[in-house]
C-alpha cells in the first residue's frame, strides 16, 4: 500500500466533494473562500481548524490546480504577499488561539490585507536597530515612530510591527512584535516614489497608535526571535513545479535578440554568457528543489536570490543596449501606485530600473553574502561593537 498516493487520493476526493457542495461559479466569492478555509483546503500543511489538514506542504499544489481547473475564485495571492507569505507562518508559530481565531481566516480569504512595518530610515540591513517606540499604557501599547519601504501600506488593514519596548537593554533584547491595525487614526501612509516613477512602497508615520496587548505576538522582549521567523519565510520560496528554460528576464532578452538578430559580436558574447548563467541558476534551483522535497526555506535560498538579483540587473542592462535607439525611450514617468509588482512588466527602461531594487529588497546582496559565508560555509562573523551595549547608548 502506497500511503503517499493514498493521502493524495483522499485529498483529491475531498476537493471533489467540496466543489460539488459549493458551486465555484454561483457561490459568492468571499463565502466560497471562507468555506474552502473551513474545509482545510486553504493551506493543507496547517493544522485542522486552521485552514489546513496537517498534510505535507507539497500537496497544496494539486489542490490549487484542482480549484483553478474548476474556475474557482482565488484569494488574490499577489496582492497579499506579506499576509500569506510572512504574517501567516509567523502567526502559526507564535500566535495565541485567540489570535489565530481572529486573524487567520480573513488573512487567507484576502478580506484583510497585511503589510510589514519593519524597516526604518535608521534600521535597514541592521533591522535590530529599530527605534519606533512602544510604551505600555494599561492593557494597551502606545506606538510612535516612522517606518519605510512598506509595500501595500495604502491597501492594508493590518500590519506586522516590530517596535522597541525597552531601550535600556542591548538592541536585540528590547524588541517586541505586534499586530497593528492600519486603520488607527495615528497611522499616516505617504507614498514613497521610486526611480521608476512609481510609488510601489510607502513611508508610514505612527503617532500615538494604540495597540491592545492582546495583539502582541510572542513575549515582551522576544520580538527579534519572532521577526526572524518572519524573515526566514521572506527569502525566495522554493516551492512550485519545474521552471521552464528562458523563464524570467533571460526570456525577455532572448526574445529581443530573436526579434532582431545580427547585432554586434560583443553583445552576442554577453548575451550567451548571461544565457548560460541563467540556465545554471535555473538548474541550481531545480537541484535545490529536488534536495528539499518539502520546500523549507534555508540559507541556500539566500544564494539563489543573490544570483537572481545579479542576473536580472545584468540582463535588463543588456536589453537596453540590444535595443539601441528604442532603449532610450521610457514608457511612462507618471506617478502610479501599483498593488502588485511584476519585475518583467512594462517596458525595458522600467525593467532596468526596477531590477536595481532586486539586490536591496528582502536582504541586500551584501547581507546575503554574509549569510552564505557564516551559515553555509561556517566562516566567523565580523566582531560586533553593538551586541552588549544598551540600545540607548549606541551611537546613531
Amino acid at each position: 500500500m502506497n500511503t503517499q498516493t493514498d493521502v493524495a487520493d483522499k485529498l483529491s476526493e475531498k476537493v471533489t466533494t467540496f466543489l460539488a457542495e459549493h458551486d465555484p461559479v454561483t457561490t459568492d466569492r468571499v463565502e466560497f473562500l471562507r468555506a474552502r478555509f473551513d474545509a482545510g483546503l486553504a493551506w493543507v500543511q496547517f493544522p485542522i481548524g486552521r485552514g489546513g489538514l496537517g498534510l505535507a506542504p507539497d500537496l497544496q499544489q494539486q489542490v490549487d490546480a484542482r480549484f483553478a481547473e474548476a474556475g474557482a475564485p482565488d484569494n488574490h495571492p499577489r496582492i497579499n504577499v506579506i499576509g500569506l507569505g510572512m504574517a501567516a507562518p509567523t502567526l502559526m508559530a507564535y500566535g495565541t488561539e485567540d489570535q489565530l481565531d481572529t486573524f487567520l481566516r480573513p488573512l487567507w480569504t484576502g478580506e484583510q490585507i497585511w503589510c510589514q512595518l519593519f524597516s526604518e530610515p535608521g534600521a535597514g540591513s541592521d533591522l535590530a536597530a529599530v527605534a519606533t517606540r512602544a510604551v505600555r499604557d494599561g492593557d494597551h501599547w502606545v506606538v510612535d515612530g516612522q517606518k519605510v519601504w512598506t509595500s501595500s501600506a495604502q491597501n492594508a488593514q493590518l500590519a506586522i510591527l516590530l517596535a522597541r519596548t525597552d531601550p535600556d537593554v542591548p538592541k536585540h533584547a528590547g524588541l517586541t512584535y505586534f499586530i497593528c491595525d492600519m486603520t488607527d487614526p495615528g497611522i499616516e501612509v505617504r507614498p514613497l516614489r521610486q526611480i521608476t516613477g512609481e510609488a510601489e512602497f510607502n513611508e508610514v508615520f505612527l503617532t500615538g497608535v494604540r495597540i491592545p496587548d492582546s495583539q502582541r505576538l510572542g513575549a515582551v522582549g522576544e520580538g527579534w526571535k519572532v521577526a526572524n521567523a518572519t524573515l526566514n519565510n521572506e527569502r525566495l520560496a522554493i516551492g512550485g513545479g519545474p521552471v521552464p528554460r528562458e523563464s524570467g528576464m533571460v526570456g525577455v532578452v532572448a526574445a529581443a535578440w530573436r526579434a532582431n538578430p545580427g547585432r554586434r559580436p560583443d553583445l552576442h558574447a554577453r548575451l550567451m554568457e548571461l544565457w548560460v548563467e541563467s540556465e545554471a541558476a535555473r538548474l541550481t534551483g531545480q537541484r535545490l528543489r529536488q534536495k528539499l522535497a518539502v520546500g523549507q526555506p534555508g540559507p541556500e535560498g539566500a544564494a539563489m536570490k543573490l544570483t537572481f538579483a545579479r542576473l536580472a540587473q545584468q540582463l535588463s542592462g543588456l536589453e537596453l543596449e540590444l535595443l539601441g535607439e528604442v532603449g532610450l525611450r521610457y514608457d511612462d514617468w507618471t506617478l502610479r501606485r501599483p498593488l502588485e509588482v511584476d519585475f518583467l512588466g512594462r517596458g525595458p527602461g522600467y525593467r532596468y530600473l526596477r531590477a536595481k531594487g532586486n539586490s536591496i529588497e528582502g536582504g541586500t546582496s551584501e547581507i546575503l553574502l554574509n549569510i552564505v559565508a557564516e551559515r553555509v560555509l561556517g566562516l566567523p562573523p565580523e566582531p560586533r561593537v553593538d551586541r552588549d551595549v544598551p540600545f540607548k547608548e549606541l551611537v546613531k
Binding site: 535578440w257 532582431n260 554568457e273 548560460v276 548563467e277 545554471a280 541550481t284 543573490l306 559565508a373 560555509l377
Partner: protein, 371 residues
Amino acid sequence: MTELNLLYTDVEDDLRRTIRDLLEDRLDPSAVIAMYDGDRTVVDPLWKAITQDLGLAGLLIPEAEGGVGASARAVAVVCEELGRAVAPVPFLTSAVVATIAVAGSGHEVVADLAAGATTAALAVPFTTAPEGPLPALVATHGALTGTVSSVAGALEADVLLVPVEEPDGLAIYAVPVAAATVQAVASLDMSRQLADVSLDAAPGTRVRGDAVDSVRAALRAGAAMLASEQVGVAAWCLAGTVDYLRERRQFGRQVGSFQALKHRLADLYVGVESGTAVARYAAAALAADDSDCEVATAIAASYCGNLAVTAAEEALQLHGGIGMTWEHPVHLYLKRAKTDQLAFGHPGEHRRRLADLVDLSFDASDAGKSQ
C-alpha cells in the same frame, strides 16, 4: 516531462567514498608536485589501483562486452573525485574519450579497455572541440604517417587511437605505442602531461570507418565529464580556502571574519553550487541519452571551464603568500584548471555552438544594420 535527477544517488555516493578513500590512501599531493620535477612514479601504481583493484576502467562499457555497464552519472562522480585530488591518472582520456571513440566497434581493444588491460588515448590535440575541425593522418596500405601535437593521455597509453582521413571518410586506427614516437612536452599541467605524437609508416589496425560521429561523441562526452572534474577542482579550492581562512589570523582575528574576504568565498560557493547543478545535468542527460544532451554539455563546458579557473585563482589569492609556494598544493589546481579550460573546446566555442542550438545565433551578415 520527467525531470532529470540532479542529485547523487546512494550508489553514486558509495562510489564517491570508494574512490575518495583510495585517493586519500594512495595519493599524496607531494607526489603530484614531484611530477613537475620529472618524477612520475606515482602514476602507474595509482592507475593500476583504479583499473585493477576498483575495476573502474570499464564503467562505460556494457557488461556484454566485458565492462561494468555503469552510466555517465557514475563516471562523472569518478571524474569529480579525480579533479578534487588533481589525480594524475588517464581516466578521462582512456576510460571516457578513447572508450567512447571505439564503443560498439567490436574491435579487440574494447575488451582490453574494459578489463583495464589496455590504456588508450585518442590522438587529437587536447584542445579539440566536439564540433571543431578534426585533425586526421593519412594511411598508405595500413601504414600511418603524420604528427599530432599536445595529446593528453598519450604518455600513459599502450594504444593510440588515430583518426585517419580515408577516401570515403574518417576512420579510426589502433596503433601500439611502441610503433609511434611519443615525445613528452613540458606542460602547464604536469599532472596531465601532454605529448607530441609522430607516426612514420606506423602499422595500425582499422577499428572503424565512418568515424566522424564516434570521434565527436567521444569529445562531447569528454567535455561533459570534464565539467565534473572541473567541479571537483573548484570544490577543493573552496573547501581548502574556507578551512585556511578560519585558521589564519591577522590583525588579531581570523581573516575569514573580514567581509572583504568572506564575500568572495560566498560568491565562490554560489558558483560551485551552480557548477554542480550544470555538471550533474550534463551527466544525467548523457546517461539518459536525452534529446537535450548536446545543449546540456555545451552549458556545462561553458560554465565549469571558467568556474574552476576562478576558484583556483581565488584560492591562490586568498591563501596569500603561501599560495604562491611550490610546497602548497594550490598551484596544482590552478595549473589543472587553466589547462582544463582549454580542453575539448574553450568555453567561448561551446557558447557559440550553444547559440546555434537554442536559436540565438549571431548573424554576421546582418550585423550593424539596426545599430
